[in-house]
């Protein structure tokens, strides 16, 4: 149902690369804040359960405060001295810088959650399939094995549990038993792998060039998103170069310059960061309307 999930992997890669570059390399707290707000709204619009979202926000607030405090003990610049510790100044500005860095880190981490939700392993195989066919075969086979190994491990472990192997044993012995179960699964998987390799060879693996299936085609919307991303990225890059939206934390936090270019730069940042949430909301409205028109 998500609109963003349906984009071509290359479009998604380009978009998220720009998002990461701007979030990580801009020192301005306003841009970092917009990135964080964009990530949270994208997650909320994307259907992340409220409980999970609140957990992320709570964890994010704790992380921001923790990084702020940690930075006070590392950076000692700034004119507002709070107190002295071991002959070093603990300053308010260092705390502000830490808070800003924390906002950036939490923002990027939330974007990462959004990426994990909106991309799948098919994107990876599709991107690599044409360039590195052998590597994509390895990834495909790996993806087939992961659930099988997990299932086999759980089955074997529950069988062992039923036999009463865990009764009145210490943590070390339990870990030892679990590891032995893992080993039995490992032995079985490696043996099966060789059988699978023989089967692949018997079916003519490696005789001809591999074909690669592509389930997602390049659409007009991919071109549109790429153009918008490139346009916004260019605007922000020029803005960074001119320094019209420059910010300094030391000796006291203030805008170095707030020039003519600052407003378009803010608009470009807002557009870029709020785009995923907007896309998902727009897609949901259209989805809803399609049902209404049928009714």
């Amino acid at each position: 149902m998500h609109r963003f999930r349906n984009y071509h992997p290359i479009t998604k890669l380009a978009f998220f690369a720009v998002i990461f570059a701007i979030s990580m390399f801009t020192e301005n707290p306003a841009v970092r804040g917009m990135s964080l707000v964009g990530a949270v709204t994208a997650l909320a619009a994307g259907g992340t359960p409220l409980k999970r979202l609140l957990k992320y926000i709570g964890g994010g607030i704790v992380s921001v405060l923790l990084i702020g405090v940690m930075n006070c003990f590392i950076a000692h610049d700034g004119k507002t001295i709070l107190f002295d510790l071991l002959r070093r100044h603990i300053t308010l500005e260092a705390f502000y810088y830490g808070l800003s860095a924390g906002v950036m880190i939490v923002g990027v981490a939330m974007w990462c959650v959004f990426i994990t939700d909106e991309t799948d392993t098919e994107d990876l195989v599709m991107t690599l399939g044409k360039v590195l066919p052998f590597v994509s075969v390895v990834i495909t086979v790996t993806l087939r094995y992961i659930p099988e190994i997990i299932k086999k491990f759980r089955e074997t472990l529950s069988a062992q549990k039923m036999l009463g192997i865990f009764e009145s044993k210490g943590y070390f012995k339990r870990a030892l038993i679990i590891s032995k179960v893992f080993m039995s699964v490992t032995e079985r998987s490696v043996e099966n792998a060789m059988d699978m390799a023989s089967t692949m060879k018997a079916r003519g693996y490696g005789l001809v060039r591999r074909a690669s299936a592509r389930h997602k085609k390049w659409r007009e919307s991919d071109t549109d998103l790429l153009l918008v991303t490139a346009f916004c990225a260019a605007f922000i890059a020029v803005g960074e170069k001119t320094g019209d939206f420059g910010f300094a934390y030391y000796p006291s936090p203030a805008f170095v310059k707030f020039g003519l270019y600052a407003i378009p730069m803010i608009v470009a940042c807002a557009l870029l960061f709020l785009l995923p949430a907007g896309q998902v909301i727009d897609w949901r409205i259209r989805w809803q309307k399609s049902f209404e028109s049928k009714a």
Binding site: F20, A21, M24, F25, E27, I67, M70, N71, F73, I74, Y97, A101, I105, V108, A109, C112, V113, I115, T116, T119, D120, T121, L124, L132, P133, F134, V135, V137, V138, I139, V141, T142, L143, R144, Y145, I146, E148, I149, I150, F153, A175, S179, K180, F182, M183, V185, T186, E187, S189, V190, E191, A193, M194, M196, A197, S198, M200, K201, Y205, G206
Partner: protein
């Protein structure tokens, strides 16, 4: 001829294993954050891509593909199954086994893919490429020491013990620049101290898993070698 090729390969592996981490640390010390981040990510990306291209050379070998896939799957499944115990996971052990028994290139790929694919469960991010590179490097070193590691469990466990802190210290370079905006030894120390419980856990869990899995793994791989003639076939090809 085959010996000369092996020597060339060992020199190339050693260059990657020593020069690239040294470059990343040097750049972290001397470059500002804005320059360090793209440069470091670029170096790690190029190293991983180069190994992927080398790995592509064995495209017609089905056994190599499936064994690499199984070791990667075991590593990812292990990381998922042991998710409740942070730092206590068999990823290092599987990567080291892959390197020791299947060669450095496959070891690198198993380490790199383990990071990439398991992060679909644990979250992707800027750290993924560094995890890929560092775990890959551990597989590569295990491949270089393969003949010794296959025979001596004590050396295998020693390598595993040092692999944990090595991984943690390389990732801490990235974390320091990411959190504090610039690299300094004091901030690096703070980051490394924060990660100390994980570093210890990595070292302990590596020794634990390698110690338990070494003998059965040796038995399984020897059995495969005899049953399918996997490694004999490789030796014959090398002699040509």
């Amino acid at each position: 001829m085959a010996e000369r090729n092996t020597l060339k390969r060992i020199i190339a592996y050693l260059a990657v294993a020593l020069i690239i981490p040294a470059m990343i640390v040097t750049f972290a010390v001397y470059l500002p954050k804005k320059a360090f981040m793209p440069v470091a990510v670029g170096i790690a990306f190029v190293a991983v891509a180069a190994f992927m291209l080398c790995f592509e050379r064995g495209a017609d070998n089905a056994a190599k593909a499936v064994l690499a896939a199984v070791f990667t799957a075991l590593s990812v499944a292990g990381r998922v199954l042991f998710a409740a115990t942070p730092g206590f996971k068999p990823v290092f052990a599987m990567t080291i086994f892959a390197g020791a028994y299947l060669g450095g290139e496959t070891g690198f790929m198993v380490g790199a893919f383990s990071a990439l694919l398991s992060n679909f469960f644990f979250g992707q991010g800027g750290w993924t490429i560094f995890q890929m590179f560092t775990w890959g490097l551990i597989g590569l070193v295990a491949g270089l020491l393969g003949p010794i590691l296959r025979k001596h469990t004590a050396i295998l466990c020693t390598v595993g013990f040092f692999a944990g802190p090595m991984f943690s210290l390389v990732i801490d370079v990235w974390s320091t620049v990411w959190i504090f905006g610039k690299f300094s030894w004091s901030s690096y120390l703070v980051t490394a101290m924060n990660a100390l419980p994980f570093t210890i856990m990595y070292a302990v869990s590596n020794v634990f898993f390698l110690l338990i899995l070494a003998r059965p793994m040796r038995r399984t791989m020897n059995r495969i070698t005899v049953k399918y003639g996997l490694l004999h076939q490789k030796r014959r090809l090398d002699r040509r």
